[in-house]
Symmetry: C2
DNA sequence: AAACTTCCGTACGAAAACGTACATTTCAAA
DNA sequence: TTTGAAATGTACGTTTTCGTACGGAAGTTT
């Protein structure tokens, strides 16, 4: 088995570790490339690995009955995937799917759990991340209830945009509709409107963000609430958003 | 300050502690009665106390702009309130409101955090509870997106029913509508239909559950998904629900 | 080149919930 | 007892999204 050498870590959680802890973890981290649509874990199945995204993006989705799926969380280089491992669950009701192809660092769940129990900086970072995830999921819940498809679509595109760190990514309307828990035809209409306004451009699964600012203006407050709380918990100076002082 | 003596603990998390840890925690626990609509913490304000409900019920709500509020989590004697304390956040974007008057054990956040860091059984229990909470919030998110007002109302009534451990409780339609993020008039219609079917009975803020089973049949799958995962994580033998084998 | 699959556009009736206004009932305070 | 506030009932036009069907365009496979 050939192991690529890990020169520089892009994942924010791992990058925040003190040298000692990082060195102890390093032998257990395996750098690999996750492919688009790859399934990392299945609902109610034993969790073998946790993942620290480098430049890939992972969706945690809830499976409703057989086919219907809805996203409950999105993870990129600021996050990690499989909080259940150190929260003491050997499975979750959710599925982990690669939303954008890219690199991630993989670790065995029991190794991570052991390291977590040592109670060092890693534990603190993972716990703070859990709180950020909780806020993300809670806000998505509110958003799902109160906001229009257009707002939700814009918010989701912004979240993806942050995580892929590129203006272009692979994304079909069918996938979007599943993530947002909406009809595909509704996404076509809404995305079409955004394209007409020159905010995005897409064609057969190739999505391009053209007007980030317009996207922010059209998205709901939820985007900022989650972003600011995540940055705050990660000790990153918050980027105040332009709309907060607006009247509603 | 008169402190009631704590004879028997009803809160499941505390009740699961080994004698030693419980004894160490006991001097810091204050038994008090929380009043209906009492606010336990405000969004983005420092968290002073965490709460272990005995027979009260606490709602965690997200405040959207000024007035609009939506519930993101519900806690009773199987849960605790303020996971943020041990997750390393000194505040949350949510508000904690007493949904049903009753007893709770209160503890200072820094004391709980210190005890958490000792890494004993308490830590394990709190972490498992966090996973259960995460599942609850995630499922609520899905529910908010996919399910009808009637299903969601039934689910919420079931969750309340479990936690109050009584067939009758104080609950106005206005409060319900806020928790569910719906119109008050819509709740009136839906609740009226349930009352006609003899499932519930209500009058001016007094809600009575008459047909628990009918309620379970009308609620969505979300109720069972959350309940079973919570029981599983708490090491309670799962109560298999009657609809799982049904065709959808 | 033909057949096929995937992705996107559009149309349209149906259903659910929204937003609002106003009436009624019931309980509590003055 | 009167007054008023809180809780509930009802009605109705509007909006949004659903659910479904069909068609076309753009790649891909055979």
């Amino acid at each position: 088995m050939f192991q690529k050498s890990i020169t520089r870590v892009e994942n924010r959680i791992l990058a925040s570790l003190p040298a000692g802890e990082y060195a102890r973890l390093l032998p257990h981290l395996k750098l690999l490339t996750l492919e688009y649509k790859q399934v990392l874990f299945e609902p109610h199945k034993p969790l073998r690995y946790a993942y620290f995204p480098e430049d890939c993006v992972i969706s945690m989705v809830s499976t409703v009955f057989d086919k219907t799926i809805v996203e409950v969380g999105l993870a990129g280089r600021d996050e990690m995937v499989c909080v259940a491992t150190f929260l003491g669950a050997n499975s979750t009701p959710h599925r982990g799917i690669v939303q954008r192809q890219g690199r991630a660092l993989r670790i065995k769940t029991n190794v991570l759990h052991d390291e977590f129990r040592r109670g060092g900086r890693l534990q603190e970072l993972l716990l703070r991340h859990t709180q950020a995830l909780l806020v993300q999921v809670a806000q998505t819940s509110v958003c799902n209830r109160l906001h229009s498809l257009e707002s939700r679509l814009c918010r989701w595109l912004l979240m993806m945009h942050d995580r892929v760190q590129a203006d272009e990514f692979v994304l079909t309307q069918d996938v979007i509709s599943m993530m947002l828990g909406a009809q595909r035809t509704g996404v076509t209409e809404t995305a079409g409107a955004l394209q007409k306004r020159g905010i995005i451009s897409y064609s057969r699964g190739r999505m391009v963000i053209l007007g980030r600012q317009k996207l922010e203006e059209t998205a709901c407050e939820c985007y900022w609430i989650v972003s600011e709380e995540r940055d705050r918990l990660n000790g990153i100076r918050p980027t105040h958003h332009p709309l907060r002082s607006q009247s509603h």
